[in-house]
Amino acid sequence: MQAKQAVNDFVVKFANVNGTGSASANHMFAKAIFRMGIPVSPRNIFPSNIQGMPTWYEVRVSSKGYLGRRGGVDLMLCVNPQSMERDVREVEPGGYFVYDSTKAIDIRYVRDDINYIGIPIMEMCQREYTDARQRLLFKNVIYVGALAALLDIEFSVLKDLVADQFKGKEKLIAQNVHALELGHQYAVRNFDCPIGLRVERGGNIARHILETDHILMDGNTAAALGAVYGGATVAAWYPITPSTSVVDGFDKYCKRLRIDPGTGKKNYAIVQAEDELAAIGMVIGAAWNGARAFTATSGPGLSLMSEFLGLAYFAEIPTVLIDVQRAGPSTGMPTRTQQSDVLAAAYASHGDTKHVLLFPATPAECFSLTVKSFDLADRLQTPVIMLTDLDLGMNDWMSPPLVFDDAQRFDRGKVLDGEALESMKERFGRYLDVDGDGIPYRTYPGAHPKKGGYTTRGTSRDEYAVYTEDGAAYVRNMDRLLKKFETAKRLVPEPKIKPAAKATPYGALFFGTTASPAYEAVEMLAADGILIDTLRLRAFPFTDSVEEFISSHETVFVIEQNRDGQMRRLLINETSVSHPEKLVPVLNYDGLPITARQIAGVIRATLGGSDNVTPIASKREASRKKA
């Protein structure tokens, strides 16, 4: 039997029981590889449960810096008997299965095409520790030590990580290092270390990776920091997976960075609301009153916020919402990822509405686009919804460092203060299109003793904010809102377009976390001679360059993670694409991040060049024939 051989290119998966402290040990494993300068993408695949259910942690190591899921497992570390049967099955031929050999492995789980590495982890813990809690926790640290030996992870890097994690707690540092050593020594004594899979500094690592001083960070924390830098002072929210860590992160950074040095008081307010309706209501109230405010939620929260989003759109109130998407509809798979709120977000609320959407693809972009969302919301006086997802929000991503230009200033948009109102000769008209861009001027409550006051409402009104049921006034207002949305096209971030090496009739369009596996798939296909230009969307409304990209290609693959091809539908709805069938959907919606293998497979099949997969074009033809 063959044993897989790979340097800096493999997938390790941990099968654990949730609530046993495995996540932090597994994170230490991933971070050690990251600190060796080797691209790594860890993913927590967890249940909607606190204790006792199977949970997995998948770590991809990629010399080229591919951060999407690859698919397949080269080394499975399984310490959960509940899931062992399927865990064994998942290992690719030639791969490795590391298990706790305290008890003999069930004969049914023995395959002859993979390599078994048994470590008596439980037995070592029983011998070493008397305390039950320690036995449980150090079990995880022991296997990390063993993996370090098996995969050639530098032991000193692990020791430094422990020292950083438990800074100032010498006893804990010593205990953890000891547990690492136990595992490490056992592996060195009993196996040929390293095995066929190993990591190595420098070596085959892509140059563009080596040239950037990367960080390892999750998207939610980055977005939270973006809210700090964007000047948010009010955050209102309701706990919901996978968005909870956005406000947790905001709280953490505010405690460090937003305490008034003179008084010790807080230059921010965070309210845990009674539900998502109240959360967005508070954001709208605060923004109406001139503070920068935001909320973070996921699909069910977005549904609940829809009525208020219609108010914010119609009454023109800057509103920032971060939607960390998960698998819907309803409660769906609350701990699995999807990009399935695109249409719900774009058109949230009854009546005619359209909302500005932002699609970050990396933690660095979660940061910069959150900062930007406050400027856009203030400038456009409308809701701005940033759509991330569980995969980006809750997992650590290797990312370029966060960047902030000290020269940039908040754009608070068209606000008339007391002085401006004082010098104004004409009557203030809250909804007058003075500049012809569809964006009116606003005033904050209390700005001037006599001028600038008006009633904000969700009911129809004229240009002076006076209630009216006059149809013509209503239409003027609705048309101005459309004009404002046109103005938004000039303000939102442009897409990132990457042309192929040579002119090609094929394009691929994607956004958010689909980007990493999509770029990888495009490189895989290029190696086979299939050339594809790419466009990574970053915002809705679509800028002119999106239309140009679609019109200049024969076929455009729209890659996304939902069942209905929601972005494809939005493109058909909101661009002048003449033949919708030229937009070919490439979809995954099983709750796990889409892989490069899946994307490349569908594209190859569509273009008529692959095995195993039914070409999409012929599927369509078949359904047409049926009809």
Partner: protein
């Protein structure tokens, strides 16, 4: 249709201490039905704000949806107002207050807006002790949709069509006290003598001031058999007169004639209560709940200042926010800059 008042002003119209005429506290002409209790409440708000006095632009008027929620257009016409979403005025006001703690917030709601669709937000704004005045214009029915029973309609009270309401009413003042409201009063739109000082006291209170004002619906709930009609309310009222002495006025005697209790608010203002008999201490919540229940069981409606907690922390104090309104903080205070970001990046390697 919109009604605007003429801008003409009498040159010698009396002004308050801040130099404003009464006209400057008025709004556009009401479009509610003639005789609506809500218009009397609007007039009482105007009177309270004019005489207290508060500069009109320092007041923000907040409301939800319904007849009551339309009324902010009919008072304080030059102030900012926010006619928001049905049942959601509390959250919008919470956000507004967090952004600028220096304004005075008057929320106007109805019994549908508060006791049905907005019950959740009402409960939580009470719990948070948001510094605001929350007025429910309570008529026991849905006016704008033509007279359906609301959740405050009494058992057996008849609708205009003659059907008796079979459901238990929600008694908002009792609920408010149980949820920890720090100022709870009930009044009647027809009792201006009591309502105006109560509104003044509510506006001067630090924290959540709740006023449940019975305000008959002349069109859909003013008939025989309704327990929220003018006639029924007048016949069954047990009013406790209230007097309000603003902080700037010297209090000459420690006890005004006939007053049975005097309470001093945080800003130095004094509320004088004139109870028929010295029934209970308004600072004792259990006694207040008992008195409300006792009058209820006798088919009577106890009005006046029912409960007061002068010392509770309002939301900004609980959250320990800075004294400066958050909406006045600048980039300098809010944005930590690139150097700090560099050190954060370093910590993520």
């Amino acid at each position: 249709m919109t009604y605007q008042r003429p801008t003409f002003r009498h040159p010698e119209a009396p002004v308050n201490e801040l130099g404003y005429t009464r006209r400057e506290y008025e709004g556009s002409i009401s479009t509610l039905c003639a005789g609506c209790g809500h218009d009397s409440i609007s007039a009482a708000i105007i009177e309270a704000a004019f005489t207290l006095p508060i500069e009109p632009h320092r007041i923000a008027k907040m409301s939800g949806i319904g007849c009551s929620s339309k009324t902010p257009a009919y008072f304080l016409g030059s102030s900012h107002g926010f006619n928001s979403v049905h049942g959601r005025m509390p959250s919008v006001t919470t956000g507004a207050n967090l952004a600028n703690r220096d304004l005075v917030y008057i929320g106007v709601s109805g019994d549908g807006d508060t006791a049905s669709i907005g019950m959740g937000q009402f409960a939580h704004v009470v719990r948070r002790n948001l510094n605001m005045t929350y007025i429910v214009e309570n008529n026991g029915c849905y006016g704008l949709t033509k007279g359906q029973d609301s959740a405050t309609a009494d058992v057996g009270s008849k609708s205009k069509k003659g059907t008796a309401n079979p459901y238990e009413p929600i008694d908002l003042v009792s609920v408010a006290i149980q949820l920890g409201a720090t100022f709870v009063a009930r009044s009647f739109s027809g009792d201006r003598q009591q309502l105006v000082p109560l509104i003044k006291a509510a506006l001067s209170h630090k924290g959540f001031a709740f006023l449940d004002v019975i305000s008959p619906c002349v069109t859909f709930n003013n008939h025989e058999g309704s327990t929220k009609s003018y006639a029924f309310t007048r016949d069954h009222l047990d009013p406790t007169p209230v007097d309000f002495v603003p902080m700037r006025e010297e209090i000459r005697t420690s006890y005004a004639a006939g007053a049975t209790q005097e309470v001093c608010l945080h800003d130095g203002s004094v509320i004088r209560l004139f109870k028929q008999s010295n029934e209970y201490d308004v600072e004792d919540p259990q006694a207040a709940l008992g008195a409300i229940a006792r009058h209820n069981s006798e088919g009577r409606v106890l009005t006046g200042l029912l409960y007061l907690d002068r010392d509770a922390q309002e939301l900004h104090e609980i959250l320990e926010t800075t004294r400066r309104p958050l909406n006045t903080l600048t980039e300098k205070e809010l944005c930590p800059g690139s150097k700090v970001l560099d050190s954060i990046n370093a910590g993520l390697r």
